[in-house]
Symmetry: C2
Subunit: 349 residues, 2 copies
DNA sequence: TGACCTGTATGTATCGTTCTACGTATAACC
DNA sequence: GGTTATACGTAGAACGATACATACAGGTCA
């Protein structure tokens, strides 16, 4: 404060830097202690209205913003990580909007990582999120095997969207009832008098424990309904980079199915493309159903019947559960949304 | 270390916590100073191979990961913020992939913020990015007015994709040559013998200084080519939530244009939808052109002629420029990619 | 009156790094 | 052999917040 009597001090006075506004600056300006300001910031217990007002005024006046890095060191960073596998999947956009809806009035900021469907990247993003002392994590349709997710959940509060882990566990889940959705599609198609229904889905990656994916659950719904109705189960699989040709083969084949039920809208659009290209008419010659009810379904050139699962709602709930968990809840909670079928022209609707 | 003689110490021995692995743990294990470890981490000057090896071994063995929060306090956080306006626009996915391509071999991690096209949210995300001491920022098609961007660029290294600021400035830009792209479309259509070409674009928001948006530049390209060819300029505008009806009106109108050139693919798909719905044939009755060449263009039901601008390349370059800037470059650099027209059936290609 | 709360404010140790300044060998030069 | 570089390490002060322990009024109650 007063270096009046200390001439040879290395670099004391007249520091040219504009001097960042810190919690200390605010404290001085308001004439209170640093701790008091900190308390106001976290709205912790034991602050009088007068003090709060004074501090708030200074914060406003100085345009002070707390440093998340510094906060992260001892307390919370007020940042939540959201891990998406694939930014191209427009359905995820809805989930994001839901997350934003819930988080907007809170002090938490969501930041996204995009894994591009690669395990390696996914893992390194999770690490990055932990390294940055984020307060919580939302995994959307993760590729990681269950034990790994549980491991992550041990390190920070976690909520998973779009994965149906078998046993109980240490994290929350938010899902649409994919089995029910799968069944509903089959029942609807059968109600139209159709019997030769093929399920078109993703080739499972090498690992065994993928009982949890949404594709797998939709498949189970399909199988169970087909079996119940006494119909032949028929499943066609393709990898991400071979969808187009597989769709073409499927549509062009001699014993073309009466209907194709695709695990997701993106694949259904490919089927429509193949049919259009080959002159196979929809819905007269073949019916197509998707899943997700994304924004492209309603375009007239697609007019795709699809299962709506309200991504926005999924996102909202996930964020809500995560905050609850951050605030102390320990028992896992599993939230399920009931899907609904939206009928359009691709099934003659 | 030895509390042998201090019985009433509050909570001294046998701390049950698993004790986080910090730089100190590593230093002890490797038998060197904390500073030495830090130097290895940052591969700073003055570290012998032997020391580096020893430290690396300990890091590996202990599975140590530096805390980004702590780093952020004095040095870099090795985190880059990427700000997207709209996660639904699949074109942005490509940009993201490009960014990841460049960043993968570096120690930097990109984290995304999504502004949902709202100014408010955009601003608060930029603040969040600054608060988290991120090392740099990539803005994709920002809504912020230029002065505000320049203000941000003063606080941290910034690169902007998809905005053409007028004068020189304190940040880098990466763009496709939208004027050229706009001209190319008109020239191509005119080459097919068409003269009544309408440009279908977004209603400008209330603010005046939006000379910089990509829509605006595409429009300028359109206008300049039309004028040069002596054709009548015709521009149709709509807001985001009225595209569908505007497209319908446009397609249904008595003096329907011979071709519609849309500022982006998403809008072109809407035009195709309207045409399909109204029984107006493409390309016989009307031709449609988009911009971005996103993944839906090639589907047969769309088969949309579009301008390709290689989002991936844009992303790559942006990340490269940003790192250069973080490492000290000061003069602004402006990178431009030349777009190319991909002809498909929607123009009779 | 003294013991014990309760509500409010403060002082200070601490989080895990990086950075500046400095010390000590070893090599290089004349 | 003495000076001067150069390479390699270390000590210790930041960085900006939070958490914990404590201080101090004023009130309540035996």
């Amino acid at each position: 404060m007063d270096n009046t009597f200390a001439p040879p001090l290395k670099k004391s006075r007249a520091k040219p830097a504009p001097a960042r506004v810190t919690i200390r600056t605010v404290a001085e300006d308001a004439g209170v202690s640093v701790s008091a300001v900190s308390k106001v910031l976290r709205n912790a217990y034991g602050v009088s209205d007068g003090l709060r007002a004074r501090v708030m005024a200074s914060i406003e006046k100085l345009d002070y913003r707390p440093s998340a890095s510094a906060r992260g060191m001892r307390g919370q960073s007020y940042t939540l990580g959201v891990l998406l596998t694939d930014i191209r999947n427009v359905f995820f956009a809805e989930i994001m909007e839901g997350i934003n809806d819930t988080l907007a009035p809170t002090p938490y900021q969501p930041l996204l990582g995009v894994s591009q469907l690669r395990r390696r990247v996914e893992r390194s993003l999770v690490d990055a999120i932990i390294d940055r002392q984020m307060d919580g994590l939302i995994l959307v349709a993760p590729r990681m095997p269950l034990p790994e997710i549980e491991d992550v959940a041990k390190r920070l509060p976690t909520v998973v969207i779009g994965s149906h882990p078998a046993g109980t566990s240490r994290f929350d889940t938010v899902n649409n009832d994919d089995i029910l959705g799968g069944e509903a599609v089959v029942d609807y198609l059968n109600g139209l008098g159709l019997r030769r229904i093929t399920f078109f889905t993703l080739t499972e990656p090498d690992d065994d424990d993928d009982e949890n994916t949404v594709m797998m659950h939709r498949e189970r719904g399909y199988v169970s309904a087909m079996t119940r109705l006494g119909l032949d189960v028929n499943i066609e699989r393709a990898a991400h980079d071979t969808v187009a040709e597989a769709a073409r083969r499927l549509v062009a084949s001699k014993d073309r199915p009466e209907a194709i039920f695709c695990w997701g809208d993106a694949w259904a659009l490919r089927v429509i493309s193949a049919a259009t290209d080959l002159g196979v008419r929809i819905p007269q010659d073949i019916r197509v159903v998707g899943y997700d009810n994304n924004q492209y379904c309603e375009l007239a050139q697609n007019s795709l019947t699809s299962v709506d699962q309200s991504g926005r709602e999924l996102g909202k709930q996930a964020a809500r559960l995560l905050i609850e968990r951050i605030e102390g809840r320990r028992e896992p909670y599993h939230f399920t949304v009931t899907p609904s079928l939206i009928v359009r022209n691709s099934t003659g609707g």
